[in-house]
């Protein structure tokens, strides 16, 4: 059975990737510390800002922290699974990408499983503490349904963000270098998710809903969980988050495969 074979292989490759990373313990620990510090810094900024204004577009500090934590949590999983794609251009530049093409397995899968970035403990630590705190403050009633919805939303968020990483990496098949696209697309898109979309101009809201669907990573689902209103969009839009994730990821996979076909005929 092909799928079972790939799952077994995935775990073997991933565990090798983890052991390889643990060879550099100091870098590993420092990355975790760095991440926690950076996210706490952003959260403190929010607090300071809201201390002045009380609310931002009808969102109070705890609601915003929930929104932020959800973004960080799915980003954490996304790093584990897909962050390796950010270095695809280096592989192509060095010519080391060829090795993925002389093996009898799907190169997308092989490349994805090569590295498993476990340094996202920082993201988990931060977001879980934030979730617990916010849940207590806002007295969120975590029913089974809500928990399942949250899990589905995280899957959707991982696929959306991972999908964008994959698309950005695929540019390397055409342009050889793709690092700059990360800063042009991924970085701003992720920063938008730190604040409720409602505070942005309508055009940006529309783009993050239908073009680069980062609104579905955290904003739309959060409005469902916290029962908030979504001006300009129907209130139930957040429920589509997992579906949007799957569709977006499939599209990004197809783009990547298209790029691979081009690579094979240019071989830059």
């Amino acid at each position: 059975m092909a799928v079972a074979k790939y799952i077994g292989l995935y775990f073997k490759l991933v565990s090798a990737g983890i052991r390889a990373q643990l060879q550099y313990r100091f870098a590993f620990v420092m990355r975790i510390v760095g991440m926690v510090t950076a996210y706490t810094g952003t959260a403190v900024t929010m607090w300071v800002m809201l201390y002045q204004f009380q609310t931002l577009g009808d969102w109070n500090f705890y609601e915003m922290l929930f929104l932020f934590a959800l973004s960080i949590l799915s980003w954490g999983f996304c790093i584990i699974l897909f962050f390796h794609f950010r270095s695809l251009d280096t592989y192509i530049l060095n010519g080391t990408f060829d090795r993925f093409l002389v093996r009898p397995i799907n190169p997308f899968f092989h490349f994805m499983a090569m590295k498993f970035d476990v340094a996202s403990f920082g993201q988990f630590l931060f977001s879980i503490i934030a979730f617990v705190w916010v849940s207590l403050e806002l007295q969120i009633d975590w029913s089974i349904g809500k928990i399942l919805f949250l899990l589905a939303v995280i899957v959707g968020g991982v696929l959306i963000q991972g999908g964008l990483l994959v698309i950005i990496s695929a540019f390397a098949f055409w342009t050889t270098k793709s690092e700059q696209f990360y800063w042009v697309a991924m970085y701003p898109a992720r920063n938008l998710t730190y604040y409720p979309l409602v505070i942005y101009p309508k055009f940006i809201q529309w783009v993050t809903a239908f073009v680069i669907p980062f609104g579905f990573v955290n904003y739309f689902p959060t409005t469902v969980i916290l029962e908030k209103e979504t001006p300009f969009f129907p209130d139930y839009i957040g429920y589509f988050s997992p579906v949007v994730g799957v569709i977006f990821f499939v599209i990004s996979y197809l783009i990547w495969m298209l790029g691979l076909r081009r690579y094979k005929s240019t071989g830059s």
Binding site: G8, L13, Q23, N94, D98, L101, R103, K264, T266, G267
Partner: protein, 332 residues
Amino acid sequence: MSIIEVNGLQKEFLIAKRETGFMGALRSLVKREFIKKEAVKDISFTIEKGEMVGYIGPNGAGKSTTIKMLTGILVPSAGNVLVNGIIPYENRQENAKNIGVVFGQRTQLWWDLPTIESFELLKAIYRVPDQRYKENMDIFKEILGLDEFLNTPVRQLSLGQRMRADIGASLLHDPPILFLDEPTIGLDVVAKEKMRTFIQEINRERNVTVILTTHDMEDIEKLCKRMVLIDHGQKVYDGEILAVKERFGKMRTLVVDLEEAQKPLYVSGGEICKQEGNRRWIRFNRDEISASELITQISQTHNITDLTVEEPDIESIISRIYQEGFTEPQFV
């Protein structure tokens, strides 16, 4: 049916034209012009099962491009490739099962992990049965001496060790065809010799077909009976190494040290091609005059203090083929 069939193979690349200077760079940002480069113009050959073929050419001749098309990494612009009955670029994963690839400059092993782990991962990737894995590992340990470094991380291996590990890794799944791209590059003399012995053994005992690209002429001389010589994307020569040596190897050089060097030296049947102090280099064709005749001739006018006869090595022969072209001998 031959194990590898290449027919009228072509590959063109479009390369962005870079203009010089700052303004040029700005201009090429806005409007890019492309130059068509034909890396492989028209190459055909067939290789039989169990053959060991040297694929040789200067840098940029199209060696790597050809190998990449045979391994399925690149799609040809025109022409046909058939490797073990499979079209590599259409059926890359199927083709991967039939081939082992070693790129001398880049390892395919997991850089940060103990060497043995790379073998186990490749076992899982190629789905090598346990029994076969064990047998192969035993053989590799013996002839490649893998034992001494199996638990060392790949990044700490010496180049020779890494190459041995890479070759072992490429043969783990018993491929009938092995591509070696510069397998001895950067190795010291002892390691080179070891590597050659191993390649020979693999070829002989498992009947593995080997295609070898290299800059090291000794590799070719010692390993291959046949060589395919390419230049500017075209085949210059395809045939036995011996035949080349026969044809171009008739020229010998006699090196003599003379006592009275200031006295002019005239030789008939040979040509003085170089002189340095008391030493003279005389080139001659072995079919026209023998070395002893030449020596007798010289010793009539000069006292010879020392002499050697140099045979041409394949390297100088090939550089002559590049310069003069290889025209087929009129009679063989």
